[in-house]
Symmetry: C2
Subunit: 349 residues, 2 copies
Amino acid sequence: MTAENNGARSEARGRRDVTVADIARRAGVSAPTVSKVINGHSGVALDTRVRIEKIIEESGYRRIDASPPIAILEIVFQALDSLWALEIIRGVEAVARDHGLAVAITETRGRLTPGNAWIEQLLQRRPTGVIAVSSELSGRQQSQLSTRGIPLVTLDPTGEPAHDTPSVGAANWNGGLLAGRHLTSLGHRRLAMITGPDRYLCCRARRDGFVAAADAAGLPEPPVLSPAAPLYVEGGIAAADALLSAPTPPTAIFTANDLQALGVYAAAQRRGLRIPDDLSVVGFDDLPFVRWSNPPLTTIRQPLTDMGAAAAHILIGPSTGTPPSPIRVELPVALVARASTAPPHRHGQ
Amino acid sequence: MTAENNGARSEARGRRDVTVADIARRAGVSAPTVSKVINGHSGVALDTRVRIEKIIEESGYRRIDASPPIAILEIVFQALDSLWALEIIRGVEAVARDHGLAVAITETRGRLTPGNAWIEQLLQRRPTGVIAVSSELSGRQQSQLSTRGIPLVTLDPTGEPAHDTPSVGAANWNGGLLAGRHLTSLGHRRLAMITGPDRYLCCRARRDGFVAAADAAGLPEPPVLSPAAPLYVEGGIAAADALLSAPTPPTAIFTANDLQALGVYAAAQRRGLRIPDDLSVVGFDDLPFVRWSNPPLTTIRQPLTDMGAAAAHILIGPSTGTPPSPIRVELPVALVARASTAPPHRHGQ
């Protein structure tokens, strides 16, 4: 970008010919004040800022002839505490680099919806695009991005994804189905699943696919579903403890992610249960280190780096002449059979 | 920042009153051409660019009254393929966020020195500062940053760190010493270490500390040192295979990082050796998942998030009135004793 043409003039005209001056007049403020709000700059009182945002949104204003954005793709995570996040970053970074873009990371410290400070700072940076991972931008935040011409993609969306926001995810339902088929084809009849929080659509889809496989296999009882457990090792330990304490415990457990599966390993070991002899375990993700767990974990491989790359392609596409991407990109998953699954003991039946 | 004052005027005067016009005159080009080079913009032929860079460097020019930089801290990694990287990112991100900055990530795909495309793109973004992780910026790249007033910090520097570049690392030598003392105090007499690449000063320091502990314990033989092995699981497997094939194999192995230690687990298992009964293992890093390995790994805890935070503080410090940081920040390490270490079998002695 050339810094020289980055002035207020550049966002003067938008869709339907709404100008900054029009918005200023309707809001009863000066045009520079509207420019400040559009560019995320400070120095505008909160109530004025909210009023101007509302008028911008209602007016249909779009910043269309602005100077080029900063060459950065932004990823917002709820938490940066698992290799899962790093795999996604790698995928985004590889595509971004090929297009001369950097990747910026922000974390909302576990908040589902990022705070207002986050969006104000982001508008100041004016990135090429934003990828929200397992995060739920508020309607106002989504509108703040679209009025500035900053495209948004969600990855593993939560709740009800906005209809006009493209999203990327794995074929989660199919992954649950693969896990269930693998276990039933080994002969397991007493299945359980450690579920993840229902607000993550991906977790809900994995569970539904798993239950569908059990149905299709004609099991006498549907799988026992644990209450929703956090997607961490500790969550897997607590849920597995409860499942394995039942009078007739399961012979196989499917977990919502790999970290929970490592929790099942720990819970089984404390009880003196051997994997896979006494208990089969299937995870979800195929994080790089689970092939080195003891025993190596059977899991559903989720193409996390490909998902990151797909999200980046959707954002970069418009500026490189790529045809518009479909509203929902779903990438395939695969069963990776390792040593944590085996036919059940006969006495366990 | 305000975009309006981001023009060529802003970098007109630098240290010793060298101006863009002076540089243009000496180079026999126009002032706008010099501005393009300073701002990382395209449209200047490579040979001209190199000539101008040389004159900028020789002239002592410093961009001092430029408009504020973009509110981003940049981290450059050689490889984004381990939780190690993510822990550092988390530390940088937490500090950056508190100061309203984003964190940008770039990866050099295993190259020790980033390419010229990387530096040109970075100069265009004009971040608040740069953290180079296990990377070695060329002298020219360092000079390109300093003439633009972009501060640089190295984290786990390689080779000979530049004298005027602040660096951050863990007390690696002390960590090696702790690992050696732990094993000798358990009674081990036949020690080995899987070393990392010597170009990483941190690996060399860990090795030296480990050897020093063996010396101090008066062992009959110094530790067997493997040839330098990659800092990955596969590197640990190959090196452990060689060490364990010796006529009198070691009873304890210290590794340059946790991933190598997981490789020792895999190599031991293939040989039917039990950890810690037949072989003790000590890693280095304390990545989040090694407490869940089987058995849980004894390791030297490296405060990776604190290291990332310290690097960010050094970069942000100057603009927030913090006194200048020392040229080398060394953070403490600690032994985390878990279940992979035990006294040696008597028959193993």
